[in-house]
Amino acid sequence: MNVFSPMVWLLAFRSLLQHRLFTSVLAAAIAFVTASLVAVTGISNGMRQTLLVSATTMMSGHVNVAGFYKSSASSSAPVVTGYKQLRELVTQELPELDYMVQRGRGWAKLISDTGSIQVGIGGIDIEREPGFRKVVILKDGTLDGLRQPDGVLLFEEQANKLGVKVGDRLTYVASTFKGTNNTLDVTVVAIATNIGMLSSWNTFINDQGLRRLYQLNDETTGALQVYLKDITQVNAVAERLRKVLGARGYELLDANPVAFWQKFDAVNRESWTGQKLDITTWEDETSFVKWFITLFTLLASLVTFLLVVVIGVGIMNVMWITIRERTREIGTLRAVGMQRSSVLSMFVTEGFLLGLIGTVAGGILGLVLSALLNSAQLVLPRGLQFIFLSEKLVVTPSAGWFVFAIVFITTTITLVSLVPSWLAARMKPVTAMSHVG
């Protein structure tokens, strides 16, 4: 008789039913931990997806063909010259391409009548941005206002800091790539809902406006943002682009998985001048944000691990009590000819069943909880919006994590139940039968 024997399963199932108070309490505790794990990983997954959507709309393509232009060894600008020719080449070489946009890149001081902030600037051609309208949710104004050369899109937090509303005038002050200062007067045409951390330092203006501010010609842009039909192809496509562009005579920076603005110091230390291209992925450009997600996932995993340990100790204790209560039964089963291994199988099966019932119930509870949290559209406090990369709590449980939670916790509980089960199996039949209690 082993774990595959129907009688072992019957005994385990009926024993759990008979001790239904213990079973209920333990299954509820296991379900709570599993539901927590599913919900927490759902939040983590939600953060990741929000980051993907917002980052790939606001500051990066799936793959970016960007670069630096150096007029002297120590002065670099994040621009790509001759981008139209480059765009044609990329279009020809990438059958995986869904669409491509060009974005100007800049960093400037934005001044209102009542305050000023340092912000990034995205130069955008709103006519050619199919993804932008899907992600940016307007509080006021219209994105069509960005067709005007002096239109600017702000996010709610920025508008509040500057004390402006749609229609108000602002001024950008920036240092051009030639080293002189320049200004650009703009009009607020739209104010959008915050998209967490990424929206706190990004503003968007018409790409012609950006060129005027930085005194760039029509052949220059910040980056070609490439969007693929299948995002899982990102790394392969980036690698291929490096080879293709290198073969076509373009100078390329070595691959470095960080955001473009983190590369200035390194680029300025190099002695070359002219144009070098830099091929990056959306993960490279958001590497400075991803540590939030990693930290959150680690903390959540740590808390879940501690909960699993607490539950594991609880289960071991309760199994002890159960085994003490059933000592005479164990003695009887051993006396009538049940081998130690079968006793072990019986109790381990009980632990496994308990774990499975609890985790499946908890997993389903976690999914329901996630759905409820999503439908509640909970607005996060401002501090948390920064961390969660979203104004609202987004919980996206994945099938992989759901299965992992069930398998991991059930396995842990089964392993925990091995200890008391092994000791039960070691009992001498005569000792077990004479047990009083």
């Binding site: 039964e329 000819g337 049940m338 081998q339 001498k428 039949p429």
Partner: protein, 252 residues
Amino acid sequence: MANSIVSIREVVKEYHLGQTVVPALRGVNLEVERGEFLSIAGPSGSGKTTLLNLIGCVDTATRGIVEVAGKDTAKLSERALTSLRLDTIGFIFQSFNLVSVLTVFQNVEFPLLLQNRLGANERKARVMQLLEQVGLATHAKHRPNELSGGQRQRVAVARALVTEPLIVLADEPTANLDSKTGQAIIDLMRSLNQQKGTTFIFSTHDFKVMEHANAVVRLADGKVLARETPQEAVQHVLGRREAAAEASVGAP
């Protein structure tokens, strides 16, 4: 003896309670023949249960030799001892010791599942035949807690016999039953002994139960006092009780 199913020679069993050594059996010798219906009698603490535990291979002797079905139990591994119990010995306990979460049918079927030799249909046929014999075929789907004490003990008898063991050990099988039910259980055991030739060894201190045995082994203070007929054993028990009563009358 050539026909012995159980052979016990100079067996000593001691229990250790901290520093104190408590002797339970002091040099017991006993031969049990196949097909016997043997009673082990004696007052509480005389060593009846210890002796049955040694024969049943659920405990080991401190010294001496215990042979069951020709095998020296001291030389067997734990696994082999468990197999010996499963295939050779049936147990009937004073407190019935049925598995509460299983039905009557499943309790009786359990040792057959452990043996894993018969198919489902054969198992069912054998279990139902035994339940018929003990008069509980109609209660096959009941749980033990739905039965009376006598019915539970009959289930225990069926469970003990289902593997067709050579020996059935019964420790005070009637102690928790009223006299009428106890009598019925002994009658059942006796008839099964006569029909199948199974060796029954049961402990008791009830002389009405002893009367049904074909031999009685009388124990006192861990020693075998005598192996005698039931009539002789009953006379000894009655004589000792009368002597005790006279002594108490004459006391100041």
